[in-house]
């Protein structure tokens, strides 16, 4: 393939990155897929069994659940992103914090909180009466309820990607249409929808893949209502006796193909990215009518109720209840558990370890993501660019437990002369891989708002590659970089699967600590630690957001 000189330079720079991604992402997945074909130990391959009706039903359930989660997350995120970007609501910074709260909650904890609120004789029954409680229960204990609980966690991805994108859409695009006499509906259909489709499809892709790979809700709520999906079946195969590794590997390969298929669809949808043109980068602002503003606030309240207020009521009640067998009353509530878990040495260590590793991993993932984004943007049709692009999101196409097991297979191989296995470095590696897709999506969204003509202008004006990167590309990528880094930090801090399977002995981490308390019946301690983790995350979020706003205010 004939490459121009800058493209050649990009290829040379990107090749080491591609190799890194092959070792990091592809190799562990291959280790798992090999076992799908060859079997594991004495057990034969389970690929021929994939056409079993039960497995087909599981696949159908997975797709159905993913589609429902995307639909609900879209309904939740799209209006909010618009309101928070283009209307005066954006001055209410706390809304951003509220939207981020569900993302900071470990998903299995919010699923447990929902189950607790809606259980027999639970808070739902007490507040709504038996009939109301029954109605709520029948909503939550259903595939739709699962999708609702899962969407409450993942809609944040879609929201952030859309909001950052809308922030970058220059006012002129919409105003030009308005001046030319387009009605609001026409402006929406002819301007907004085409402009936002690539960003939306990226967000939807990530939501779908997260929903297909997330295990917290399927193994709690899903198992309770008998709605098996691929992840819960994989989880069952590797954790419940008799262990059946080949089935887990075979089902993982299905999930991997599903992920790839969705990726291809997304690539096709976003094949025509719309650069905004170079002029009038003023932000768009729309003044809402009184009616529209009321509707906006009402929708915001509904989203907050479902994604924050109800689960957090369950979490706080859990963290503060002295005796679960006694009714809820002031005498039966206490703040003591917060102090208890903070004083426990292993709890303190868990918080410290998780915070430190999350910081390192989020930074590493961000650096990789910037590299991967630039490489794939420069080398759109070149195999190096395409490969980088696919591998960067590759980790998200399989559930984390499969990735974790692949990492053990690879890095615990006896033939390796040295390995990070059984050290905190292994956790950093694992987190980085898991965060990468999400960080890449954010950086890519920012990249798609950069008009290549800026870079051409820089080159024409005599800027070197480094200069145009530092003075043009990096500042324009900054919103995506910050958002991605922050999301990565918050996600790694509460990550469960990698933390649980790859941690070295006697090395406490936040989510395993919480899970272990649950498993041993210390519900209050578990919930109290969850609250502390969320408060810490919120503090970081507010701090970073303040810095971000200052940074952009300075730039004008």
């Amino acid at each position: 393939m004939a490459l121009t000189a800058p493209e050649r330079r990009a290829r040379n720079a990107a090749t080491p990155l591609l190799i890194l991604l092959i070792i990091g992402v592809a190799a562990p997945l291959v280790m798992v897929l090999i076992r799908a074909v060859t079997g594991h130990g004495d057990q034969p391959s389970a690929l021929p069994e994939l056409t079993d009706p039960t497995h087909l039903r599981t696949l159908g359930n997975t797709i159905l659940l993913g589609v429902m989660v995307v639909a609900i997350a879209t309904a939740m995120a799209t209006p909010l992103a618009f309101l928070m970007s283009w209307t005066r609501l954006r001055h209410h910074r706390w809304i951003d914090v509220v939207v981020m709260l569900p993302f900071m909650t470990p998903p299995y904890v919010s699923a447990l909180a929902w189950i607790d609120v809606t259980r027999f004789n639970g808070l739902g029954d007490q507040l709504l009466g038996d009939a109301g409680g029954d109605a709520l229960r029948s909503i939550i204990l259903s595939p739709f309820g699962m999708a609702l609980v899962m969407a409450s966690e993942v809609f944040t991805f879609l929201y952030l990607i859309l909001r950052n994108y809308l922030d970058a859409v220059p006012a002129s695009a919409d105003e030009a249409a308005s001046v030319s006499g387009a009605s609001p509906w026409q402006r929406f259909r002819r301007i907004m929808v085409p402009l936002c489709t690539p960003a939306y499809s990226l967000g939807a892709l990530i939501v779908f893949i997260r929903a297909a790979g997330e295990f917290g809700t399927p193994v709690t709520l899903g198992n309770q209502i008998g709605f098996p999906v691929l992840v819960s079946e994989i989880y069952r195969s590797v954790t419940i006796n008799p262990l059946d590794f080949p089935t887990a590997a075979a089902l993982s390969s299905v999930l991997l193909w599903l992920g790839c298929a969705v990726w291809v669809i997304q690539q096709w949808i976003s094949r025509r990215e719309q650069p905004f043109g170079g002029r009038a980068r003023r932000r768009a602002t729309v003044t809402l009518s009184r009616w529209a503003a009321t509707a906006g606030w009402a929708w915001l309240s509904v989203v907050a109720l479902v994604s924050v207020i109800i689960p957090y009521t369950g979490i706080f009640l859990g963290a503060m209840t002295l005796l679960r067998s006694q009714p809820i009353s002031l005498e039966n509530l206490t703040f003591d558990y917060f102090g208890l878990v903070l004083q426990s040495p292993s709890g303190q260590q868990a918080l410290q370890n998780s915070a430190m590793l999350a910081l390192v991993a989020a930074t590493a993932a961000t650096a990789l993501a910037v590299g991967a984004t630039l490489a794939s943007a420069r080398l759109k049709r070149h195999p190096v660019g395409r490969g980088t692009d696919l591998l960067a999101v590759g980790a998200d196409t399989v559930p984390t437990i499969v990735m974790a097991i692949g990492l053990i297979f690879l890095w615990n191989s006896p033939w390796l002369p040295a390995s990070p296995y059984n050290s905190p470095a292994m956790l950093v590696l694992g987190y980085t891989l898991v965060l990468l897709p999400m960080v890449v999506q954010n950086v890519k969204t920012s990249r798609s708002t950069i008009d290549d003509r800026y870079l051409e202008a820089a080159t024409t004006s005599g800027a070197t590659g480094a200069q145009s990167f530092l003075r043009v590309t990096l500042p324009l990528l900054m919103p995506g970089i910050l958002a991605g880094w922050l999301l990565g930090l918050l996600l790694a801090f509460r990550e469960v699967v990698i933390s649980s399977l790859l941690r070295p002995g006697s090395y406490p981490l936040l989510s395993p600590w919480i899970m272990s308390q649950f498993d041993q019946g210390f519900r209050a301690e578990a919930m109290a630690m969850t609250v502390i983790g969320i408060l810490g995350s919120t503090a970081v979020l507010v701090l970073v957001d303040t810095l971000r706003r200052r940074y952009f205010a300075k730039r004008g």
Binding site: V238, M320, E331, Q343, N412, S516, G521
Partner: protein
Amino acid sequence: MPATLNESTSRLRIIGALTLTTALLLTACGSVEDTNGNGDNSGNNDDAGAAADAADSEIAWDAPEDLEGSVTLYAANPQGLNEELAEEFTEAAGVDVEIYGDTTGSITARLDAEWDNPQADVVYIASWGPAAAYAAEGRIADYTPEFSDEIHEDWIGDGFYGRDGSALALTVNTNATPSTPSDWEDLTDPEFENLVLMPDPRESGTARDLIAAMVSSWGEEETWELFDALFDNGMDVQGANGPALDAVTAGSYAVVLGGVDYSAYSAIDAGEALEVVFAESGTMVSPRPFFILEDAPNPENAEALVDFFLSQQGQATSAEHNMIPAQPEVPAQNVDYDDVNLLDYDLDALEADSEDILDEFVSRYLS
């Protein structure tokens, strides 16, 4: 800008009101009582005193000398007990114990993934089945721990041994139950309609073993008759042991059918309104096995650790944490092994049959 000023004063007022409410709440609230001794809560337990007592007494374990380095233990819950055993062992033998504590599921998943290059020395899990499977595959080191001739005979497997165990009970929420049941059959009474919860045998190894033990003791027909009646009476099946106990403690149901007893005792010690009942017609005691891996990186330390597990000192520590000790000599805290009326079963045979029995159970009631 007056608007901003207004905004910030009203914000101040809100903060003031919140602080006041919080302060009021704080004074009105209850507090956690110190549930000394059994707070096997992985962090805030400081039982170094108790450990020192045991080490000084006549049941103290004599550690072999000249051991050094560390040993890696993969251990299922309760972690408080594992940490205390590790502490005592380190004190006696001078060997550090690295604990990877998690559920049996995570431990077996990790063991399987690490199989080419084992990292664990000693493994302790909550059910007999996986240990038997590992033994059959030749993955367990051949070592006879020092006190293994002093433990219950049927807790000796093929290279693996029960360190301690728990009885499967009827755990009753005394606030929610219409009456205290005394046998499985009582729960088929209409007064228990929709009030009984059983851990899901697909997720809980002990629930699965219990069904198999019933079949082995009474035969299939009688066992399915019992479960037919239970399910007709609205019994639910849900989650592993922990969530099932939680749902009963919270009052969503009144009785756990066949849950492990030890976690209920901890909850009772904390003041929960629970009662543990053993079925008159018999139940099973589920031993929790340990074993040394075939290619353990630190075999000598591993052997010392498992010797310690079965020593009187180690057994006494297990008993303190509400487990039934493997040595009959060591008294249990709540119920001695010999005082539990057992169904008629053979552990090894159970493992062989339980998969088919589970399939039958699932197809009858859960699909």
